[in-house]
C-alpha cells in the first residue's frame, strides 16, 4: 500500500481517460442526437462493423463515465490524485474518442454523418480539428504532469 499523499499519476491519468471518453460519448448523445437532432439514430449506409463499433462504444461510454468518476473519488480520498494528470487524461480521452468517431466511425464505417442535407466538409473539418486540439492539449498536460 502506498503512503498517504503518495500521488498516483498514471492511475489519475487513466481515470481521466475513462471519464473523458465517457464525457465525449455523453456530449455526442445529448447534444448532437437529442438536442440538435443533427445525428441520425440510424443511417442506411452503416456497415455491420459500424453497428458493432457504435454499440460497443455506446455501452463502454456509460461505464467509463461512471467508473472514471468513482476512480477519481477513490484517488481523492487517499490524497493520491494528480490534478494535472487527470486533466490530461480527460482531454486525451475526449479528443481520442472524438477523433475516432469523426474519422473511423463516421467516415470509414459509414455510421451516421454529423449533419444531413448540408455540405459536410466544414462540419467534418471542425469536428476533427477540435478532436486533434483536445488530444494535443491532453498530451501536453500529461507530459507536464510527467506521467510518462
Amino acid at each position: 500500500m502506498p503512503e498517504r499523499g503518495d500521488v498516483r499519476r498514471a492511475r489519475s491519468a487513466w481515470a481521466g481517460v475513462l471519464a473523458g471518453v465517457g464525457v465525449a460519448a455523453f456530449v455526442d448523445e445529448t447534444v448532437f442526437h437529442q438536442l440538435l437532432h443533427w445525428h441520425h439514430f440510424y443511417d442506411r449506409s452503416t456497415t455491420d462493423a459500424g453497428l458493432v463499433s457504435d454499440g460497443l462504444f455506446h455501452a463502454f461510454g456509460w461505464f467509463a463515465l461512471v467508473f472514471g468518476l468513482v476512480l477519481v473519488a477513490d484517488l481523492r480520498r487517499g490524497d493520491r490524485l494528480s490534478g494535472r494528470a487527470l486533466a490530461g487524461g480527460v482531454l486525451t480521452g475526449a479528443g481520442g474518442f472524438q477523433l475516432y468517431d469523426g474519422t473511423i466511425q463516421h467516415k470509414l464505417l459509414g455510421l451516421h454523418q454529423i449533419r444531413y442535407d448540408v455540405d459536410l466538409t466544414p462540419y467534418d473539418w471542425t469536428w476533427n480539428v477540435v478532436a486533434v486540439l483536445l488530444l494535443a492539449a491532453g498530451v501536453l498536460f500529461l507530459r507536464r504532469a510527467k506521467v510518462t
Partner: protein, 277 residues
C-alpha cells in the same frame, strides 16, 4: 397476454411481496437493521416485473425493458437472497450447499450470464421465435419468463450484492456488463431497420420501439454501472481500512463525497456485506 395469466401473475407478485415483508419483519423484530429503502425497491421491482404489455411493438418493448431489465435491477438491489438466508434458518441450511455448488458458480459467472441473457434476446428477435410466440400463448409465457429470469441472473451476477461463494473480480463484471449492453444496443439498431422474421410491423411503431429499447437499455445499464463502480469503491475502502491506520480514510474529506455516499446508502451498494453464518 391472456386475462387468466394476469391473475396468476398478480397472485405470484402478492405472494413474493408478502414473503419479503414477512422476512423483513422478522429481522426488524429481533433488532437487525434492514433499510426501508430495500422494501420500497422490492415493491417497485415486483410491479415492474408484472407490468402488462400494451398493443403494438412499442408496447411490447416497454414491457421488455421493464420486465427484463429494470425489474431485475430493482429486485437485486433489494437483496432478497440475503433476506431469505438471514430470516429463515431452514432455508439457509438447505440453500447454502446449492449456492456454493459448481453449476451455480458457472451460471453466476458474469460473462456466462451475459451470453445467456443477450443470446436469448438475439434468438427471440432475430429468429422466427418472436412471430411464433405471438400466436402461441404457452410459448409466449415461456419466452416472457425466460427474458425475466435471464435478466435476473445477469443482473445478480454482475452486481453480486447477495452472498455468493465465488468471488469475481472487477474485470469480468465490467466486461460482461459492457458486452451485454453493446449486444443490446446493436440488436435495437437492427430492429430499427428490419422487423423480427415473420412479422409485419408499421415502420413508425417498429422504429419507436427500437429507439425505446436502445435508450431504455441505457438507463438500466447506467444503474448497473453505478452498482459495479460503487461496490468496487466500497471494497477498496474496506481493504484500505484493514491495511492502514484510519487517519486518511473518508471522514477527513467527508464533504466532497457526501453526495456519492448518499447514493450508495440508498442503493445499499456500500453497506458491508452481511455475514452469513
Amino acid at each position: 397476454m391472456i386475462v387468466h395469466d394476469g391473475h396468476v401473475l398478480v397472485f405470484l407478485a402478492l405472494a413474493a411481496l408478502a414473503a419479503y415483508e414477512l422476512g423483513a419483519w422478522r429481522l426488524r423484530n429481533r433488532g437487525d437493521r434492514w433499510p426501508p429503502a430495500r422494501d420500497a425497491v422490492f415493491a417497485l421491482g415486483v410491479a415492474a416485473a408484472i407490468f402488462p404489455g400494451a398493443p403494438g411493438f412499442t408496447g411490447h418493448v416497454v414491457q421488455h425493458v421493464l420486465t427484463g431489465m429494470l425489474a431485475p435491477l430493482l429486485l437485486v438491489l433489494a437483496r432478497p437472497m440475503t433476506l431469505l438466508l438471514r430470516a429463515s434458518p431452514g432455508a439457509r441450511r438447505r440453500l447454502k450447499p446449492v449456492l456454493g455448488s459448481r453449476p451455480v458458480a458457472v451460471l453466476m459467472y458474469p460473462p456466462v450470464a451475459a451470453v445467456l441473457e443477450a443470446g436469448g434476446l438475439w434468438l427471440l428477435y432475430r429468429t422466427g421465435l418472436y412471430a411464433a410466440a405471438g400466436g402461441e400463448p404457452v410459448l409466449h409465457v415461456l419466452v416472457h419468463a425466460h427474458v425475466f429470469l435471464t435478466g435476473l441472473l445477469f443482473t445478480a451476477s454482475v452486481c453480486r450484492l447477495d452472498p455468493v461463494r465465488h468471488r469475481v473480480g472487477l474485470g469480468p463484471r465490467a466486461a460482461a456488463l459492457v458486452g451485454a449492453a453493446a449486444a443490446h444496443a446493436v440488436l435495437a439498431k437492427t430492429l430499427y431497420l428490419t422487423p423480427p422474421p415473420g412479422t409485419v410491423l408499421a415502420a413508425a411503431d417498429r422504429q419507436a420501439g427500437a429507439e425505446l429499447m436502445y435508450y431504455g437499455g441505457d438507463v438500466v445499464e447506467l444503474g448497473l454501472a453505478l452498482v459495479v463502480a460503487l461496490t468496487w469503491y466500497a471494497a477498496r475502502g474496506r481493504a484500505a481500512r484493514r491495511g492502514q491506520p484510519p487517519t486518511w480514510m473518508p471522514g477527513r474529506r467527508a464533504g466532497s463525497f457526501s453526495a456519492l455516499r448518499m447514493i450508495s446508502r440508498t442503493t445499499g451498494a456500500v453497506s458491508p456485506r452481511p455475514r452469513i453464518r
